[in-house]
Symmetry: C2
Subunit: 319 residues, 2 copies
Amino acid sequence: MMSTTDARRERIYPANRVTLREVGLRDGLQLVKTFPDTDAKREWLVREHAAGVRHFEVGSFLPASRFPQFADVREMVDAVAALEGAHSAVLALNERGAEDAMATAAGEIVCVVSATEEHSQANMRRSRAEAVGLVRRVAEMRDAVAPGKIVNAGIAMSFGCSISGAVPPEDVLRLAEECLAAGADIVGAADTVGYAGPKQIGTLSAALDKLCGDRPFILHLHDTRGMGIANAAAGLDNGARVLDGSLGGLGGCPFAPGATGNVVFEDLVFLCETMGFGTDIDLTGLAAARQVAEGSMTGEVFYGALAKSGAPQNMEWRA
Amino acid sequence: MMSTTDARRERIYPANRVTLREVGLRDGLQLVKTFPDTDAKREWLVREHAAGVRHFEVGSFLPASRFPQFADVREMVDAVAALEGAHSAVLALNERGAEDAMATAAGEIVCVVSATEEHSQANMRRSRAEAVGLVRRVAEMRDAVAPGKIVNAGIAMSFGCSISGAVPPEDVLRLAEECLAAGADIVGAADTVGYAGPKQIGTLSAALDKLCGDRPFILHLHDTRGMGIANAAAGLDNGARVLDGSLGGLGGCPFAPGATGNVVFEDLVFLCETMGFGTDIDLTGLAAARQVAEGSMTGEVFYGALAKSGAPQNMEWRA
């Protein structure tokens, strides 16, 4: 019999269509100096939901003293829970964070494994094997106290590491396999520092697609070197069916000051639609959400071309 | 026996490698309010040449009263002629401009044909058939007075028209065939208003590749909707071997005020290299050229991610 969690995963992340995850309230706020207050964040969610967005990564369980932008993560989870058909994901970087997350209505808990030993030690002070061990404990915790919550294992630095450089694709595939064996419901490959070009993305996507069988995998792309949309296209061409992006491309890179952040959500919607992957997301509605976000973070740069140009008005641009 | 012009085309636009044309001094300056003086333009060319760029579109033969940015087009042609192995292209929109261009050292004369009757009439006050007729007269003029100069026919609005909307790919292919029959040495498809996504670009590129046989075709892409690099990747995947771009993505869109311009040349170099298409262009050298250009056009926005992030420093990113 299919487990509660498997059934839920198939509903939240169907394998036969594209799902876009808006990670602006989590990854987008990781490095910002100013951030929206709780009401503005709620309005951001409400407007994106009205535009058709259903998958939101809304925060991290981290010490509020160091990450005040995520102090209201529980309120954000509740805000998503109040929106019809919406799904919330939260980041948990240790067991304590995962325990806290289990006690909320969050639909998904995201764990991070680094693709390289060097980055794992520098960023998390643990080995890759220990990071996979955390994924296992989180999955066990979920089975015990919160069946149905999705456990997502994101593999950072999958396409190149700011510390150790090139990353063998076999390392990413092995870690993905280990995370699935440890109980993760879905795995993702992240181009954390935007090192990849579309060829590299396409090759690893095809291999991940094969590895994951009938469950989709996630591509988490950063636009640090302007390749974000091209990489998303290459992923889609090679089996990727869940892609992350952030409104206005929020979320810089700690290793490249001033650089662009996540792939721009609005442009990602346009890309998918031109490629024939329906998103049910309305660009005009996204523009309204962006207006709220920009108004609440006046010190931040918002990226994206669609926000300036709009979609073509005099032809059907959806394939 | 191969004509002088055919031999020159094979040397300037070899079919077996990628050629990047830097169109900043032409398309990039089409709409600007401030523009570099002649010395700054020369310095721009010298620095790009030092970075490895060899193909420059440097101006238009247009009335200097209305287009003062191109008043020094002859000096620009001479500046390129002084650079070892460099090739200059100039735009000629009528017979008078073509006559003027023939009398210079320019290596290439670019004519424009619109993909749609509506845009052709609105933009050039002539039919598409008349535009193809101009290509024929320019080619005849070249044969008579300047054998060896390349005649390039660019097809504007090939992927969607700001006036009439969707453009049937058959119209573009028919016009490309007519231009070649009229004597053009190379044809190009332009996404003038940035309507295309990668799927559309890939499909038409494959068809153009077939049509053009052993000669390459040009893709001229605008980043108006953020698809520029993804479209370039799709083109490269489907046979495109000559791509236009402008330093810093200069060159807005007359039909989308404030929108981004040509695909960013620096990012295009990075893309090609990650895909295994060697460009012999050095990104650090391009950054130096960009510094000159930015310093001489302080009112303009320069785009591009590589300029902010630089290439990855700790791994071989060239495929």
